[in-house]
């Protein structure tokens, strides 16, 4: 795990975003230093997913700036962002259920890498996927599907990996296992921005954390500094 906080790889300043007439982000400032893992936490509906969607190009920022390694990326189409090095795994399952494992990985080749290399790396990192190369992704277990999503995301050597609710609908044991994998990935130097419902789980692998409430960042810091505020943010007063 990195203790040194590097130069900003991804930077959001004053980002606002709306769905129709209703604004969901009211000026989000967030910095992801290169080589670090940042956990974005907060209660349901705080705007975490929207923030990630802005990064993935799925929702445009109406104000503010989004920079990737110093370049303006707001307004760029999702497929161009993916080629520019933002690998996003959306909420739910980040795989094509009616495509095989092999075909899912082949889709990643649209970012520029050739399929053979992608597969080689994916199976090296996640040997279980190699055993299921011809299987339809939708017939695998939830945990395996997320593994495949991670493999797909990592295939293109992304600058940043953006994970939205990796744990959605998975049993706690599987979630723990997945985050072990995330920690391994982080150890290889990939920068990661992660949104997660299970806050305590993700704080175990994060270098930095931010709490988001009501479309704004309300707290930032090291995981140890953030953890105390969590229970009340989620469950109300638990005394």
């Amino acid at each position: 795990m990195n203790d040194d906080i590097g130069v900003p790889l991804l930077e959001l300043c004053g980002v606002r975003a709306s769905y129709g007439r209703i604004e969901a982000l009211h000026g989000v400032d967030l910095v992801l230093p290169a080589g670090s893992v940042l956990a974005l936490l907060g209660p349901n509906g705080a705007g975490k997913s929207t923030t990630l969607k802005v990064l993935g190009g799925l929702v445009p920022a109406t104000r503010g700036c989004v920079h990737l390694a110093g370049r303006h990326i707001n307004g760029t189409a999702p497929h161009e962002l993916a080629r520019a090095g933002v690998a996003m795994i959306p909420e739910g399952r980040g795989v094509f259920p009616r495509l095989t494992v092999h075909e899912n990985l082949r889709m990643a080749s649209h970012t520029g890498m050739d399929t053979a290399t992608i597969e080689e790396r994916a199976y090296e990192r996640f040997p279980r996927l190699g055993e299921r190369r011809r299987q339809l992704a939708g017939t695998m277990s939830g945990g395996e599907q997320q593994m495949l999503a991670l493999a797909r995301g990592l295939a293109s050597d992304p600058a940043v990996l953006v994970l939205d609710e990796l744990s959605m609908g998975l049993a706690p044991l599987i979630v723990a296992e997945l985050y072990e994998l995330v920690a391994q990935v982080a150890a290889t130097g990939v920068s990661i921005l992660v949104v997660e419902q299970f806050a305590r789980t993700v704080l175990g692998v994060a270098d930095l954390a931010a709490i988001m409430v009501g479309g704004r960042i309300t707290a930032e810091g090291r995981p140890s500094e953030i953890e105390a505020e969590l229970a009340s943010a989620y469950l109300g007063d638990t005394t």
């Binding site: 795990m1 744990s167 706690p172 723990a176 072990e180 997660e196 419902q197 993700v202």
Partner: protein, 242 residues
């Protein structure tokens, strides 16, 4: 005898168990809470109770009468009303028409004057100022109140509310809490799904916690807050080898 009695209901989607032998009860004259993380099966349970989702096993009874397999509109006429998490208001109609159409369907069965009932509900839920606006154009919070008014216009025995507080301001949220309490005092049975846990703790006499389609815990607000399993379901475990 409970107003609503759900016994051992199981629903499968493909291989997934969305609900796994879930039982719960709602009493007349009180608010019952149904909470749990995203994807726990809360909305599926609502669809089961209102008949939009057939069950693979188990039964649903209202007032002691088995209604499993009864068509949705007949259940509504038997006294079950609901709101929807993802809004299902009649978007191209005005707020007044949304309530009126429900009151008129009700009139088919008794003589109550629908227009008067509609005006009373507009007043009660403070929707008078937007009564003639197209519902689609309302902010989410107000649109949720329209759905509650529409549900009440059917004069139900059992009211199912799916995240009614999401989108409400703090004052509106307080107003909702008062409304729910009053409605319950008037004899209505209410089943409340809500992410605003403090609100649930405030108004519910009995709370059921769903996780992975099964009842994880049930009891009073205090019992639920103290439950370690519940905390884990919401926050995750700390035992991660990093």
């Amino acid at each position: 005898m409970s107003l609503l009695e759900v016994s051992d209901v199981t629903v499968r989607f493909g291989g997934n168990l969305a609900l796994d032998a879930v039982s719960l009860q709602v009493s007349a004259g009180s608010v019952t809470g149904l909470i749990g993380p995203n994807g726990a099966g809360k909305t599926t349970m609502f669809n089961v109770i209102t008949g939009l989702q057939p069950v693979d096993a188990g039964r649903v009874a209202l007032d002691g009468t088995d209604i499993t397999g009864v068509r949705p509109f007949r259940r509504a006429r038997a006294g079950i009303a609901r709101t929807f998490q993802r809004l299902e208001s009649f978007g191209s109609m005005t707020v007044r028409e949304n309530i009126l159409v429900a009151a008129e369907v009700r009139r088919d069965r008794d003589g109550a004057a629908p227009r008067m009932a509609t005006d009373a509900l507009l007043d009660r839920l403070s929707l008078g100022d937007v009564a003639d606006e197209r519902t689609e154009e309302l902010p989410t919070g107000r649109a949720r109140l329209v759905e509650i008014a529409r549900a009440l216009a059917t004069r139900p025995k059992l009211l199912l509310l799916d995240e009614p507080a999401s989108g409400l301001s703090e004052t509106e949220g307080d107003g909702l809490a008062v409304l729910l309490t009053e409605l319950a005092q008037g004899g209505l049975g209410i089943l409340l799904v809500e992410h605003d846990v403090p609100l649930v703790m405030r108004v519910c006499a009995q709370i059921f916690v769903l996780d992975f389609g099964a009842v994880l815990a049930s009891g009073s607000a205090r019992e639920i807050q103290a439950d370690r399993n519940v905390q884990e379901a919401y926050l995750g475990t700390t035992e991660v080898v990093a």
